[in-house]
């Protein structure tokens, strides 16, 4: 009996030691980015856009974020508004959106996008080093394999948006 118990204990312990490698939480990069973007909507205040009865997320350039954002759209809303995703391939095509995500594959001059979206009330989110300094509101960066974000407060404000202090506390502030 004693041996049997010991056997069970060892078995259980062995199982534990195998599964220890699987235990750390982790996520794929774009699932995380999509979750961040959805979370941002809780901390950003948009100007009243009475004409819009949906919440629009634009994506410029091909991006793996398409799929996870598509998942979110199915189940979630922002301020009880349905979320719609619009995809653009060049700055001239961009129509109004609450959030514009610039894919790192977009291959479009950032200046063109910023000029087009200036003062339109769009939260511009990018994922390339140095883009927040260049004028995007939020820029994703990967630090030690974890996803962080830079916030350019001036860019957020000049777009006519308000970011909560809670959000800015978590951000890497770019001045």
């Amino acid at each position: 009996m004693r041996n049997f118990r010991l056997f069970i204990a060892l078995l259980v312990f062995t199982f534990r030691s195998v599964s220890i490698w699987g235990q750390k939480d982790k996520a794929s990069e774009y699932n995380l980015k999509a979750a961040f973007i959805y979370n941002f909507t809780r901390y950003i205040e948009w100007k009243e856009e009475s004409a819009e009865n949906e919440f629009i997320i634009g994506i410029i350039g091909a991006s793996p974020i398409n799929d996870p954002l598509g998942e979110i759209v199915k189940t979630e809303t922002v301020d009880n508004k349905k979320i719609t995703i619009k995809r653009f391939s060049k700055p001239a095509d961009i129509s109004f959106c609450h959030i514009l995500f610039i894919s790192q594959n977009a291959g479009v001059a950032l200046d063109d996008i910023l000029a087009k979206m200036s003062g339109k009330g769009t939260l511009i989110i990018s994922e390339q080093n140095g883009y927040a300094e260049l004028g995007t509101a939020i820029n994703f960066v990967i630090v030690n394999r974890k996803l962080k974000f830079e916030a350019n407060v001036r860019a957020i404000n000049s777009a006519g948006l308000t970011a909560s202090s809670q959000l800015l506390k978590l951000a890497i502030i770019i001045k």
Binding site: R2, R5, L6, I8, A9, L10, V12, F13, F15, R16, V18, S19, I20, W21, G22, Q23, K24, D25, K26, A27, S28, E29, N31, L32, A34, A35, F36, Y38, N39, F40, Y43, G61, A62, P64, P68, E71, I72, T75, E76, S89, K90, N105, A106, G107, V108, A109, I142, R145, K146, L147, K148, L167, L170
Partner: protein, 734 residues
């Protein structure tokens, strides 16, 4: 005791709970706060690593960044950084490349049968295969490192997924596309030891991610690391005009010069390629690639009575390939034609050839977790020497137009079950060749089971064929010459009923990611390969009188020998701060069964090569025997060690090694003195190192040493001694 059990149960509960927490689904992530999200490590920053981890087959990916950082000067050399690949240098820039061996089988064969004939090489899924005798004329690759996005290598028979010829594996070179809108440009210039100059450049344009085009060119010159050639008689490396076989060439100096126009040259080649992509709609992608290539190399290929072991090979080829992904359809058509002179100066080694490949696949809409893709394939290879030889007297190797055609049907299926943890991937393919006139079936079954996100086990069972070879099917050559004042005639004939080389594999693999920065990939494999073919001396008669002294018949036929391999490859990827370590090693053993060294039938005439007793010493006399095959190293591997020493500075070491091998050529049977026909390849460690410095975001300078210890041990039968090579270079990338 109770405490132990309680502790264990508690730990078990923890692990069950943790495993049940499926953090990677988007919906579960939405429940977390930004603060929590910020603490979740990203599973894999690169899509490549992710797909490699989940890949059902034994596979490795080499990226353009690795090639750039490592200082590799060619696509062939870069394959030394891939686990399970054996890369032996013959002369500067020319290599014999094998996946997991199967080299030099049968042993004691003519030189032509030495080089790899079981690996399928593709560019963007389009085969660049040599149907003549299998394998790849690497110098005829039209592209160079500036065109490479990544190189995918699959180890093991994979004909069901990639087509016949993928007997020991597949090397698929994926070309670059301009990802960013606007102008695209890449250029490399490298200059190094032995007049090695490697330049290549591409310019392109991406218009709104809908249309992109690249024009690319490459040019390489490499001289040999020595100027001497091996002389069988004196068993030394001597100047060309002192090589006994070369000296006795009855056609004299003119033919010697024709055969060896540039004795110091190892490689001179250039290529021009165009790549066009057009995406008119979301699910419509059209692409075209075309190019031309010219190469002259001195490498080891085949010998005749008047050549040294090195010979000059020339080739000019042109290709065009069109591909369309239209909704769920995929259509690919490729056409290649060229002129080949693999033994320059020998008229019968000259021909034109063209290959046409067409493939249609349809991806049936997935039903739950099952996706099925049927495909139809047509492939035709035509080799024609009639322009260059007198076909009436069967002067050429096949003296006419040789046409090998395949019609094939393939089916791929991918099925995920048990909450997507278990994945079954299956491929089956039926090939109907014109010769041999029957159906051949190949298959591949792979199962992967994800114990959790960090542990994956997999099993593979597969069977693959090699395409019927032109020399096996169509050889049609009459060899005549003087014999004691009269003449002899030896007829060499192909065999349209030859059995195709076949390999079966069973493989088990385990991949684990014990930490975010550590990945370990272990594979265990065993293969059985049979139906090797060779030129068999079938019969012959000596005539006492008349002009003809002897008439004999040789044909291409199967051998009784079969090979079994047992092996294991371990590859590790470890990242620590600015360091990356990617060591890999393969241990393997190859046994040959039923091997007979006698390439004659029992009905052949009595000759010294069969101890004047063909009834006893013939192709069947190896039945029941087994021997260890020594031409594949028992241990080989290398490492990619990279240190990002600063924002601009990168230092890379890529050592490479193998254990000793012995290659046996047919002279070993003739002389049996342990010297002639025998090459003892010493175990070898060579170190390559490269330093790169980014002057600006666009311009990188590089300094690299290949074979830094100047280890001159030969890597291939009677090849050139490799030497330390130093390269300086500049890379431009827009």
């Amino acid at each position: 005791m109770k405490k132990i059990i309680a502790f264990a149960v508690c730990m078990n509960a923890v692990s069950i709970q943790v495993n049940g927490q499926k953090t990677d689904s988007v919906s579960s992530l939405l429940r977390l706060s930004i603060e929590n999200l910020m603490n979740i490590p990203i599973y894999s920053a690169s899509k490549v690593a992710e797909s490699t981890f989940d890949a059902p087959l034994s596979s490795s990916v080499l990226t353009k960044e690795q090639i750039k950082r490592s200082g590799c000067t060619s696509i062939m050399e870069a394959l030394r950084m891939v686990p399970g690949v054996i890369v032996r240098e013959q002369t500067n820039g020319n290599y014999d490349i094998h996946i997991r061996g199967l080299d030099n089988i049968p042993p004691n064969a003519a030189f032509l049968f030495f080089t790899s004939s079981t690996t399928l090489v593709m560019i963007d899924n389009y085969p660049v295969y040599n149907y003549l005798h299998g394998g790849t004329f690497w110098e005829t690759l039209p592209i160079d490192i500036n065109d490479v996005e990544k190189i995918e290598v699959v180890r093991g028979p994979s004909a069901a997924l990639y087509g016949p010829n993928a007997v020991s594996g597949v090397i698929n070179i994926i070309t670059r596309k301009p990802l960013k809108e606007g102008l695209y440009s890449v250029a490399n210039a490298l200059a190094g030891s032995y007049h090695s100059i490697i330049t290549n450049a591409s310019v392109g344009y991406n218009q709104g991610n809908k249309f992109s085009a690249i024009l690319s060119g490459n040019l390489q010159n490499r001289n040999r690391t020595q100027s001497t050639y091996y002389d069988e008689t004196t068993q030394q490396y001597v100047p060309l005009d002192s090589v006994t076989s070369v000296k006795r060439n009855p056609l004299g100096a003119d033919n010697i010069n024709e055969r060896y126009p540039h004795p110091d040259l190892a490689m001179r080649k250039y290529g021009v390629n165009g790549f066009v992509n057009y995406n008119p709609a979301e699910r419509v992608r059209l692409s075209a690639a075309f190019g031309v290539q010219h190469a002259e190399v001195q490498k080891e290929f085949a010998t005749d009575g008047y050549s040294a072991y090195l010979s000059t090979a020339k080739a000019d080829t042109r290709y065009v390939t069109l591909k369309g992904d239209i909704n769920d359809w995929m259509v690919q058509v490729s056409y290649l034609n060229g002129t080949q002179l693999p033994l320059l100066g020998l008229p019968k080694w000259r021909w034109t050839y063209n290959t046409l490949d067409a493939l249609v696949e349809y991806k049936i809409a997935p039903i739950k977790n099952l996706s099925v893709t049927p495909g139809l394939i047509y492939r035709r290879a035509i080799y024609d020497d009639s322009k260059y030889v007198n076909t009436a007297i069967k002067e050429g190797l096949w003296s006419g137009r040789a046409e090998s055609v395949t019609n094939a049907f393939s089916l791929r299926a991918d099925y995920k079950l048990l909450n997507q943890r278990l994945r079954l991937v299956g491929g089956a393919r039926a090939d109907k060749f014109n010769y041999p006139d029957k159906f051949y079936y190949s298959y591949q079954l792979a199962a992967t089971y994800k114990i959790n996100d960090r542990n994956l086990v997999r099993l593979v069972q597969s069977k693959a064929y090699r395409t019927p070879l032109i020399i096996d099917l169509f050889s049609n050559l009459d060899i005549t010459g003087p014999l004691n004042g009269r003449t002899y005639l030896l007829e060499v004939r192909g065999n349209k009923n030859i059995k195709l080389l076949t390999s079966n594999l069973f493989e088990a693999g385990y991949r684990v990611q014990p930490a975010d920065n550590l990945e370990i990939d272990l594979e265990l494999f065993t293969t059985k390969t049979r139906n090797f073919s060779y030129t068999i001396f079938e019969s012959g008669t000596f005539y006492p009188t008349g002009p003809l002294a002897f008439q004999g018949l040789s044909d291409l036929n199967n051998l009784t020998v079969y090979a079994r391999q047992w092996g294991s490859t371990l590859a590790v990827n470890y990242i620590a701060g600015a360091w990356q370590f990617k060591p890999f090693v393969t241990l393997q053993k190859t046994m040959l069964y039923n091997y007979s060294p006698y390439a004659n039938s029992p009905a052949a005439p009595a000759l010294p090569s069969n101890h004047n007793d063909p009834a006893t010493y013939n192709i069947y006399s190896g039945m029941g025997t087994k021997m260890e095959h020594q031409a594949t190293p028992a241990c080989y591997g290398g490492a990619y060690i990279n240190w990002k020493a600063g924002a601009r500075l990168n230092i890379n070491l890529n050592p490479w090694f193998y254990s000793a091998q012995t290659q046996l050529q047919s002279s070993n049977l003739t002389y049996n003195d342990g010297v002639r026909g025998v090459e003892h390849i010493k175990g070898k460690l060579m170190l390559n190192a490269a330093v790169t410095y980014d002057i600006t975001k666009m311009i990188t300078l590089s300094l690299s040493g290949r074979n830094c210890f100047n280890n001159e041990a030969r890597e291939f039968y009677r090849g050139d001694a490799p030497a330390l090579m130093v390269f300086g270079g500049i890379n431009f990338e827009l």
